[in-house]
Symmetry: C2
């Protein structure tokens, strides 16, 4: 084996990770501190404050889990679900389904409210299912990474007219790219990841828990099986008690801190607008080339853009050409959408005009080289128009 590893410089336009600003990478080179060093505690405090701003919450229990987004999902479900309780799970994509699977693993009787992948949820059906059940937990994936669908998390809190409930929201592909508004939307528990809208490398999962969520956790008959993801023990390390739990991945947290600081410097509103405009330019370009988006405009994510693969195009061949010839990574479809869509992530540092124009040009060339009739230059031109108008 050679002792050197020199991966190519990819433009990361898949479902995450997205590209990382050099400033964030540089932050990881600061001297390593131990997990009980008073200076590291300052870093933790800053991360908590910054995460509260990005989650738009006053929740005290807001911190990063030392694992990826999936660990964040598991942390929320494992701590909140008790054996045999009913949980309403909204499913209109791969990640909604994953939530349902994990909830079942953690002992829930899952009541699925399903819609076709790429189609909006029927909120009346969510309400009816909740009403007929004894569920005290409802979950929704804000940004369904498998389809590019944005689900209406702002409508969840009205369920409390029926009965008090703990509302869990998956913000993996929305946090830092779309407004999540934890407090405004009455969300009790949410998890995300470091490598998408936040713009840090993969490896951490920001989470937040409301007092209502913590009350439910505190009143459990038995602690959750998981020790690594036990929120009450983790809280004793992140709060002023500073009780040792595990050796924090300090360098990853340096990177997260820097990425969050960059978000606040840019400003949340400005950042959301950037993601909105980049996505709009992308859609204009894609439609200018004669291709179609999977999701209806009013439900589209800005962070993850699903393009229908034109009939006759070879999914894998196109993606492979983009990767090997243009160093552009995009995502394939999952499950029922396999071979039917390309998933283009425009998140964090990757959400830029340059990436949209380069991708559209590269896609046009790739399709033409593979014998497809694509109007020359129309995609990039349509995208540029969006930026000109501002």
């Amino acid at each position: 084996m050679s002792n050197s590893f020199h991966p190519p410089q990819r433009i990361l336009l898949g479902p995450g990770p997205s590209n990382v600003e050099p400033r964030v990478l540089q932050a990881m080179l600061a001297p390593l501190l131990g997990h009980m060093d008073p200076v590291y505690f300052q870093c933790m405090d800053e991360i908590q404050g910054l995460l509260r701003s990005v989650f738009e919450t006053g929740n005290r229990v807001t911190f990063s889990i030392s694992g990826t987004g999936g660990a964040g999902m598991e942390a929320c479900l494992a701590n909140l679900i008790e054996e045999d309780e009913e949980v309403v799970v909204c499913v209109n994509g791969f990640f909604g389904q994953r939530v349902a699977e994990l909830a079942e693993r953690w002992g829930a009787r899952v009541l699925r409210v399903e819609a076709e992948w790429g189609q909006p949820l029927d909120m009346q059906m969510v309400r009816d299912t909740f009403k007929k059940s004894k569920a005290r937990i409802v979950t929704m994936v804000h940004a369904e990474t498998s389809t590019g669908m944005r689900n209406p998390i702002e409508e969840l809190k009205s369920l409390r007219d029926v009965r008090d409930a703990v509302l869990i929201v998956d913000a993996v592909t929305s946090l830092g790219a779309h407004p999540v508004g934890i407090d405004r939307n009455g969300i009790d528990a949410s998890y995300s990841c470091s490598q998408k809208g936040i713009g840090a490398p993969p490896g951490l999962a920001p989470v937040t828990f409301s007092e209502r969520a913590l009350d439910k956790i505190r009143s459990r008959k038995k602690p959750p099986r998981t020790w690594y993801l036990d929120i009450q023990i983790l809280d004793k390390y992140w709060s002023s008690d500073r009780v040792y739990h595990h050796t924090a991945p300090a360098l990853m947290n340096y990177a997260l801190r820097e990425a969050l600081a960059i978000i606040m410097e840019e400003g949340l509103e400005t950042r959301w607008q950037r993601h909105e405009r980049t996505s709009r330019a992308f859609v204009s370009g894609v439609e200018g080339m004669g291709l179609e988006m999977l999701v209806a405009p009013e439900h589209r994510l800005w962070s993850l853009n699903a393009v229908k693969i034109p009939p006759g195009a070879d999914d894998a061949r196109v993606r492979n050409h983009l990767l090997t010839r243009h160093n552009i990574e995009i995502g394939s479809g999952f499950g029922t959408l396999k071979g039917k869509i390309w998933r283009v992530g425009l998140m964090g540092h990757s959400s830029s005009e340059a990436n949209v124009l380069y991708f559209l040009t590269a896609l046009e060339q790739t399709l033409r080289e593979q014998g497809f009739e694509v109007p020359q230059g129309r995609g990039p031109t349509a995208a540029r128009e969006v930026y000109k108008k501002g």
Copy 2:
């Protein structure tokens, strides 16, 4: 809040993390790849090969868990333990106790075989407890980080004369510093961390599972609750199936790969000898100053060296002085050993003559400044003698 974070350059001589070679940090700056990129798969394959060498095993299922050492512990226990089964757990320190706690969380009826913290286990008692039980799992912490005790993992396999058993070994503070010899010692499942003997930053947990361990996992009546740490699903991502599970912390794995490559360049034997000599020099120095080690010579770790705090010395004040005045981090005692020992880690890149001499000098000055009679220069001189003899 200031947007800059400039932690001091610490000499990390605590229970981990240890200092990281610049080469390992540089490896993290290679371009970020997606978790399904063919080039990233090469990196994964290399990590698996290197980890097998360091674990001294041919186990196919050998990879890094995307969490810290604690996640590795949880992965081994959660996958191997089934509801209500008996598990023999050797406990002579904080981490043995943690294994017992986690095993109970995961449904085991734990049969503890205890020794005082800092005292050796009674292997006849382990055998008797195993014999009288129906246990099919026995666990032992190789390097008890809380005391500096090395436990006799090489004696575990003789338990199979009694009955077949899955042997789980905690190698968190031994892997990369002490020989672990997974195959030679008949160990079926083991976990470690990235930030101690391996010399990478904290954030990953190397694990390995034998066919015997996998058979037990495959024959479970129900899958383990944990999805994030489900070894069979993780294996589908690490093996040639490459089934997506979670977004791999790629930069952490670049660092791990580089740290493992450095280990193989140094050579395992040479590396173990370095750790042995550094520890021997440290002990000579400490004893030269008139201080005592907690653990008897034949049971001492090289990686974690527990020094008895001399009567009258102020534990916290000494550690604080070392940290703030000399930028040296060492560990305090846990539980019954709180206030009684200092734990000095000499692991990975931190295991060096320079660190031993600097630490001994700094400790001598600190103790003298705090009114202690310590013979001047005797510690460092005694340590240097060890190196002179080779």
